[in-house]
Point group: D3
Chain length 194, copies 6
């Protein structure tokens, strides 16, 4: 792998990582066939790495009022608004796979208002974008809009917290000029890859 994980802040060699982090990287590699660069980029700071992925998994790896594909839609839409190349390309791939739809991620990343989504998903993304771009103005009227589309209070927290977490993630990736692995670009685009 000749291309670096990020243009700044060198990734440590895998064999010099703490055991728990190396184990996680190897597990991801076994499952996906490659190590996504965010794992290498954040391994620069082991404690932050652990907290980051614990937070990520707490928000993204669960069921509930939002499907896993919908959670990824929030990631892709807010990361597009924040112009985060790593997050749009990597989570765009995951969204294609989870939604079994080869076109949705590109639509949502560029302009979710024009995407082929339901009115309920449009309301979900309206809220997520407001948290992402002007959380200081979020108020009761925004929660009422979510309720009107059938979202529970717990769902509202999920939507907002995912948007908030990727506000962090987008900034880290942009600050480090993290580069999406080449593998992501094509994932989920071909009929059999869904």
């Amino acid at each position: 792998m000749s291309k670096p994980a990020a243009k700044r802040f060198p990734a440590p060699a895998i064999d010099q990582l703490p055991d728990d982090i190396r184990t996680r990287l190897l597990a991801v590699q076994e499952k996906s066939g490659f190590v996504p660069n965010v794992f290498l980029g954040l391994a620069y700071r082991p404690d932050e790495f652990r907290a980051f992925f614990a937070y990520h998994d707490a928000l993204m790896e669960k069921d509930g009022g939002l499907t896993k594909a919908e959670r990824e839609m929030i990631v892709v839409a807010t990361s597009g608004a924040n112009q985060c190349q790593y997050c749009v390309v990597a989570h765009g791939a995951i969204l294609r796979i989870r939604a079994r739809d080869p076109h949705l991620a590109d639509q949502v990343a560029i302009n979710y208002r024009k995407a082929d989504i339901t009115p309920r998903q449009k309301a979900m993304l309206d809220f997520a974008l407001k948290v992402s771009l002007s959380a200081q103005t979020v108020g009761e009227v925004d929660y009422a809009e979510l309720r009107a589309h059938g979202f529970s209070e717990d769902d509202a927290w999920d939507i907002g917290a995912i948007a908030a977490f990727f506000a962090l993630s987008n900034r880290l990736a942009n600050m480090a000029s993290m580069r999406p692995n080449d593998e992501f670009y094509l994932m989920g685009r071909l009929p059999k890859s869904g």
Copy 2:
């Protein structure tokens, strides 16, 4: 073709179009295998259609200081900034093909500052984005920066004029909720498709 070319403003039936427009559509279809929706969407207004494509071809279908791939990079970068789904997806496909690079378009659409491009191309896109987003502030210092990267006055016009033309195009496509054809999403992404 069950999906409409645009969510608003119905596209006329091809057999009811003026001869010259129908001929152009059929030629595109023969060459590409499908009719890009912008041709159908703009056929709603034949005179505007003719002027639009004449303008497009005058800027995009020529050689000179900018390669055709570089012209498409300007389209993709400014269309991303304007959140134009149709233009990013359709011209992203063309950029992949013209640059023979399956990753460049996604990078440029999301954040050209992090894309794998040359400093000269970065300067080109800095100028294009300034014309696209705040042309009222363009001044001599911007032209000097282009010259420092080897661009001629003619090149400067080309860069700015392409950015300006797609300021028009992005607005039309967003206003009409024009949808990218399904064919574009995968074009230029597979090794043999370049």
Copy 3:
């Protein structure tokens, strides 16, 4: 004529222009008494010149749901928002003449919300400004507002397309530092000039 048509990109000498362009310039000169600088500035690129004016005429030189004065109001309001000196001064003159009103253009250029216009014209300019400044957010609610003021679908296209076309025009004029001809400033301001 000692002042240049634009501060950048020299205008070609009239006798070196292609025949059709020279003929159009002479016709304009005969009708208006002078050649507006946009004709000279764009003659730098004959093919773009032809497409530009064909597009312009297709949108501006016709009747329909919008009067010609209303079409110019859209030009002046959006050009003011884009800080385009050439377009505000030149089309301000045309608006004064077409509306037979010496004050309207200045009002609309600075703040159309405070201008002496009808609620219907205010809705027209709200839509035009939204297309000009944030077309990515245009949606059904905006079209519904137009319908509520009696505009047809065709009118909606006209309003949006004029705003989109002058998004192009404003950027070209700012990029080239095109200067309004001195003649425009006073046109339509005196009682007899209407």
Copy 4:
């Protein structure tokens, strides 16, 4: 005078004004031939009227490093940026007269960067616009730029204070929907009116 001075907040009848205010209005009327609407609009609040015009005169009616025309250029440029119809039209008239130039005001109101002004005046307006639009970011580098163009510390205060005062004035006029008197539109535009 059938048109109101402002669309909101009724102007008191002249004969019911406090003596000092009525006297000032009559003096202005005698000198100008009409009473500018800002005098009527602010007479709604006599104490604020007195303070407003005392402040105005302290900044605008004096000589020093800036000519009176240059002071008006600051007013027109910042009022254009704040989309204040009353201030642009009324002070545009005064600028035309003081600069003996029929074109300058329209240029400065729309885009001072493209106006026919000196580099020193451009630096003056750069500083004024920064105070008007983002005073929180003004710093030593901005003062250094003024000094490099020959402005004294006193001049710097004048430029900034005029911009600051019209930040107030623009907001009052927009809030009250104050309308420019018809007389202003043509003032200073004809050869003999200078």
Copy 5:
């Protein structure tokens, strides 16, 4: 007093000030125990000083539909939005004292939407912030909202005029890098200091 009143534009020595200004400064010092730096900073220009404080007192030192504490809330909220350190710290102190509340000023300065205020006060600040940040868009709908919360036309003027006056004041203080006196930071924060 070793710290200067402002980082730019030296304050004159008190004994060299005009009599009326020195008298006012001494009166403030007697009442407050110190001379707020805005008095020293503006004394650089005696005529502007007089107009400034006359305007200030006309808006702030009166009763009516708004309490004096509410007037200060407008100052603190708009000064926070304009990032004016002097105005937030100094008027924050006055707000704490006038409202007999040690927490309100910090809440309002940072995000009034989350402050412990009434819906009527929230509407008041919505209007004030709109005048402060985008007065060009203020319209009848905004006045209707004020009326719905029981504000009179006179109250509306007060709210808007205070916001407009501090648009001026914030810009002056930022331009001069005026520093809040140390005394302000603690005023009104202790139980007995109210």
Copy 6:
């Protein structure tokens, strides 16, 4: 404690919390004399709570090129820009204590450019604010500026990562309308409390 920790999303009763979280809350209460509301507000989601505080401690509770007071300066400056009431009030208190300075927090929250800080700290906050507000534009020139002020690559990561983490934190607090505990407002303001 009659006031809720946040206006939305009820905090669980302390005795119903998981053991590790309850233990942490009690430890904080013992040390500080009260439980900061962020602990109660985030306890709504135990897994997110654990990740949040692990991340927080990894960034804030360490020495290195940045002092702990400087780390808090980054929090307060970026939280002010994001209008986060909880973070500005709570971390303002911590900053006052860590810097042993009763005035610094208010200055930095409102406008760090005017605060009594060193040029090195100003550069640190310039970078932090850029990551917070437009991370997509961060580039080599920004890192060079940090280096010129003596910051190492590790320091750069710290500055950016703290800004990024509080981009998350600010959004959560605003989304939940988290309220600062009354205790924070006065902490570190009195001579003996430092």
